[in-house]
Amino acid sequence: MAALERLKSLGELLTARSSILPGRAVLEFKPDDVRRLFSGLIEALGPDGFFVSTISATDLPGEGKVRLDYFVVLLPEEETLVFRTYLPRDKPVIQSVSDLVPGALPGECEAYDLLGVVFEGNAQLKRGFLAPEDAVKLDEYPLRKDSRV
């Protein structure tokens, strides 16, 4: 894909490559590299060369992991790439990129409130961003597979 060519400089950070329907490239990286990855994106594409469209967290209790996907749209072709990483389920902590890319803020807050992924450095993570009071009181993360809601 043409847009992918521009990300050659990030090659060392990307550990695996696959795809999801319909034909979108999935690039895996290690959780510790998240800030280097996004700084590299800003350097390679410019601050207005891409935007973070969606951040999706999926609970995989069978593998003991939480899968975190950053869906990034590259401009001007508007091509979507998926940056994927896996976090250990008992301690899903990753550094926040909301200071580099402010658009990641809502996605990080939602992943924290609904699944418990902690984004270090994001001062605005709060329980109750979306989840209702009783779930917060019971310390429940609603989208986890073993949640009692």
Binding site: T80, C109, G128
Partner: protein, 397 residues
């Protein structure tokens, strides 16, 4: 001036705007910190309308979810169902006949027209022009009638299903819809002229709520808000899903980035939507029955993930559906609505403007709070149903 120092102590007044909102008919709390009339900071407080849809989708079958998904948002229900159904069709590897694809486009474009008319009418109401609001709503009724003719209901279309659409379109209905569009188009042009010429509207919307191109991209703003700031993103043009690959349309972009530009982008898009709808009605292919037999839809979905994007009236809407191949229910359904990005990232747009500009700026973002907070939790143990929590989300500038 002698040796006196004058120390100014700014007094910031916290003005809670909402959740019974003056600008919208949906609950959202904006804590506005104002010095006199000027806004210095805004905090967005969400959580009033969280309904638990993502969790609910994991507990219902793929096909039942089509109807649940349609009820995420009233104004954008066809685009939600279209996005979800296309994700399912990717998983299954099926493609509906061209006639069905054209009909889907027709439903979505009709929805775009009425949504933009509503957004601009609400903007007119918020700048004080109530008469304009009433007149736009009157003409909007034509679109609601067209939707009723096409889908069977004015708002909730329930029109799209895996494999096609749920109702056919015969020639009588097609002519009726064409007639309604012909009556509507000159009215849309008239309203566009009102927004271009009327002094009250211009005074209250020009140079208000500006967002630069860089800000719009960095903050992941979407839809008409981004296009009014010069960012040419339109999922219809890039994905070319359904029948958009065969239709001719323009992506409307303006560069001013203020409330007026957003309103004009919406009017231009509404006119483009009328053009697209007319093309659909003219070019409607007859290559098969667009209505699949709902009794024979596949129940077992192979394992896989699909990520689809659609251009909702408010921006890019994305669905991420994961199927584990084991049961009739999806493993994960992630919905990211455009209002989620637009509203939660919006506080930087308010700073520096007066409190009186706040409703105008908020209405120009076209907030759809029910789209934004699609999760409510039903506590199975108590049987109790609660749907709100008030915590702060500081969305500082």
């Amino acid at each position: 001036m002698g040796g006196r120092k004058i120390v100014e102590v700014p007094v910031t007044l916290e003005v809670p705007v909402g959740p019974q909102h003056p600008a919208l008919h949906e609950p959202l709390l904006l804590r506005v910190y104002a010095e006199g009339e000027e806004i210095v900071r805004v905090e967005v407080n969400t959580g009033y309308n969280h309904r638990g849809i993502e969790k609910l989708c994991e507990k219902n079958s793929f096909h039942k979810n089509v109807f649940i998904i349609g009820r995420v948002c009233g104004i954008c229900n066809t685009v939600h169902t279209d996005c979800y159904v296309r994700a399912l069709e990717h998983l299954l590897g099926i493609e509906p006949c061209r006639r069905a694809l054209f009909l889907r486009v027709l439903a979505m474009e009709l929805e775009r027209i009425h949504s933009h008319m509503l957004a601009n009418a609400v903007l007119a109401l918020n700048v004080g022009f109530e008469n304009l609001f009433m007149n736009i709503m009157l003409d909007r009724e034509r679109v609601m009638k067209a939707k009723e003719v096409l889908t069977g209901s004015r708002v909730m279309a329930d029109y799209i299903i895996v494999g096609g659409v749920r109702r056919g379109l015969d020639d009588d209905k097609r002519d009726k819809i064409a007639g309604l569009l012909d009556a509507l188009a000159p009215r849309l042009e008239y309203y566009k002229r009102v927004f271009e010429e009327d002094e009250t509207v211009l005074k209250r919307t020009i140079d208000v709520g500006k967002a630069s191109r860089l800000d719009a991209v960095r903050h992941s703003l979407l839809g008409p808000v981004a296009r009014a700031s010069g960012v040419a993103v339109d999922a219809r043009a890039s994905e070319r899903y359904d029948a958009y690959g065969e239709l001719d349309f323009n992506v409307v972009v303006k560069s001013e980035g203020d409330v007026w530009a957003r309103a004009m982008v919406r009017w231009d898009e509404a006119l483009e939507a009328v053009r697209i709808a007319r093309q659909v009605l003219e070019k409607l292919p007859s290559d098969g029955n667009p209505v699949p037999d709902e009794r024979k839809l596949p129940r077992k979905f192979p394992a896989g993930e699909a990520y689809t994007r659609v251009e909702a009236p408010r921006g890019e809407l994305t669905y991420y559906v994961v199927s584990d191949g084991k049961g009739p229910n999806p493993y994960r359904v992630k919905i990211r609505t455009p209002s989620f990005n637009n509203i939660v990232n919006s506080p930087f747009m308010f700073v520096g403007y007066s409190v009186a500009d706040l409703p105008a700026i908020l209405a120009s973002l076209d907030p759809c709070i029910s789209c934004m907070e699609r999760v409510t939790v039903i506590d199975v143990e108590n049987g109790a149903r609660r749907s709100m929590a008030l915590r702060e989300l500081a969305g500082g500038a």
